[in-house]
Point group: C2
Chain length 364, copies 2
């Protein structure tokens, strides 16, 4: 087991990574001084694998725990489902000293975190992320939220968990595309901040593909360390934390234009990263021409897209980037690679460069 500390003053917390941790949750809670009545939030898909082991482990350690099931899917990251958590908390007379446990992926984590941030003006919560994406991304940094019918994550709070238990054993039940999509954020971490980490990912490509628990435990701890360092510097995303959005400008546009149906988040971000590399090369921000094929090869080996699928309109994406949001071109702050492990923020990218890049990637 490895422990990564996220140092945020009185809001500091630990991320425990390793294998076989989920079934030890009860004793890990106890060791860490967790007290109070527990409400676990999960979905039926995750519950079928991991709820019983978790509840057994909590019961064994003497905890009183109940469960609320949220239907599986992004559309249930809603104020309405937060309301169901509140109802359960109120009906069960959960007080300020109670603990919410999020068992699942990003949707469960964000929703549970939001409920914890707002029940009785904030109760403790613990994340047990069961997807790679949640372990390396959404469980670190305290971004909690629910969606508004007109936009994702519009209602939320910055609110840190008290403990995160990331058991890489849960990856064995993860669908292929989910796993690969999570790896995109891992690769992103290397590209923006840590050349050695990136090279390790290249070197261990086979073990990663096989989801080797030992290697994956190291990778999750590594990504947590990188993201924690950024979050520590800029908890509420007023500055530096923006670099974590590398690949996300075009990634979000791709998700949006395809109605959030066509791509997994990481798949869209992979394409966004490739676009950012091309933009940086075109504008001579990046010299190292070898970086693009390296990234593309890593994505390919994970079965991720490296070209826009047929029918994606360049004009449509350009409109999303520049027109729909009524932003002038100078307002888009592109996160672009300068070299391996280093990015810069530029608002001086001409729209033509973006458009040419999109058509090079297969846009029509």
């Amino acid at each position: 087991m490895q422990e990564v500390r996220v140092e945020l003053g009185e809001r500091s917390y630990s991320i425990l990574t390793g294998t076989g941790l989920l079934v030890r949750s009860g004793s890990l809670f106890k060791e860490r001084g967790v007290k109070g009545k527990i409400l676990t939030v999960t979905n039926p898909t995750v519950a079928q694998w991991y709820l019983t082991p978790l509840l057994d482990s909590l019961a064994e350690a003497g905890y009183q725990a109940e469960t609320v099931l949220i239907p599986d899917g992004e559309e249930y990251k809603s104020l309405e489902q937060a309301g169901r958590i509140y109802d359960k908390l109120v009906d069960g007379e959960y007080d300020r000293k109670s603990v919410l446990v999020a068992l699942g992926g990003g949707v469960i984590g964000d929703l549970t975190g939001f409920a914890a941030a707002t029940y009785m003006r904030g109760i403790r919560y613990i994340q047990i992320p069961t997807t790679l994406l949640a372990q390396v991304d959404s469980s670190i940094g305290g971004k909690t939220a629910v969606n508004h019918p007109k936009g994702k994550n519009l209602i939320g709070a910055f609110y840190q968990p008290n403990l995160v238990i990331s058991d890489v054993g849960t990856f064995r039940t993860l669908p292929e595309r989910e796993f690969s999509s999570g790896m995109v954020e891992v690769i992103k971490h290397g590209m923006i901040l840590d050349p050695d980490y990136f090279e390790k990912l290249e070197h261990e490509a086979q073990a990663i593909k096989a989801r080797d628990p030992e290697i994956m435990a190291e990778i999750v701890a590594g990504s947590c360390r990188i993201k924690a360092a950024v979050v520590q510097e800029d908890e509420r995303e007023t500055g530096r934390r923006a670099i974590l959005n590398f690949g996300h400008t075009i990634g979000h546009a791709l998700e949006s234009i395809t109605g959030y149906q066509r791509f997994k988040h990481g798949e869209a971000v992979a394409l966004g990263i490739l676009a950012a590399l091309k933009i940086a090369l075109r504008n001579k921000i990046l010299d190292d021409a070898a970086l693009y094929p390296k990234a593309a090869a890593m994505f390919e080996s994970l079965g991720l897209p490296t070209k826009l699928p047929a029918g994606i309109s360049c004009e449509g994406i350009m409109a999303l980037l520049y027109l729909d949001k009524k932003v002038e071109y100078g307002k888009i702050r592109w996160i672009l690679p300068k070299s391996l492990g280093q990015v810069l923020i530029s608002s001086k990218i001409p729209p033509e460069t973006v458009k040419d890049t999109l058509s090079e990637l297969g846009g029509v």
Copy 2:
């Protein structure tokens, strides 16, 4: 104009108190560096008096401002009405740099603060409280919330405003009972922390009754200073801040047993303060027997109740205190006066003392 600073590190803010401030809001915002699009939240009762002057002043200072009206009443301090604020923010494309302005009493302040705390994980907000209670109590300390159908303030966040503008000129439109109810928290501040302030209140009883703007401006500033000092020490109410609940244990029980219809909050707290005085005298925590008649006289002069109204059942209140919440008697932490300007917290008050006190106050 007086300025009271609430020092909470990066969450510090100023409370401006005085007369004629509301019509100067625009220039005050400007002086304080407020930027961004403004959404004002208010209710029709307050709007009829103060919305046009506020909007005119904002327009004059060059601000772009819209308004959302919330129906008047505690029942609208709900997640549903918060949803209406979110909708307006989303439809109007308000971004992270926008500002919510709460124009009204505690309901508007708490609801708007909650929306500000949770829209895009927190945007700026400014309070312009128009009731005495809101100016001396709810606008200081960052408690934001909405009610759950089964309990008040169950959903909320600690979230500080960026500026508070307390114009005592708004008291002229305040109904008698609203004003007196607000004065209870003012008197409470003197009793728990500041003998000089308490004596000033006794001394200025006539001017207070007449709502003399000069005296009221001093009083609001004084109460803000006292409450700010407590909040600064314990922002999230984990310890010392509990002393602000003086009079509230029995006060809340009285509100609850009468279905929140019979009493204004301050009226119930006035009775709770008298009960706390009696309990403290009975248990020899308080020696100064003159304090009870002094407090009762101040309440009487403001038309506040000093006896329980006919039909309030002692047994009913005892059940609310001890049975319904399943608390053992040792768990109730009574805030009790030790002397004028000093309270202590005791969990060693026998239920019989409480019951005897209630019947002495007129309970049946």
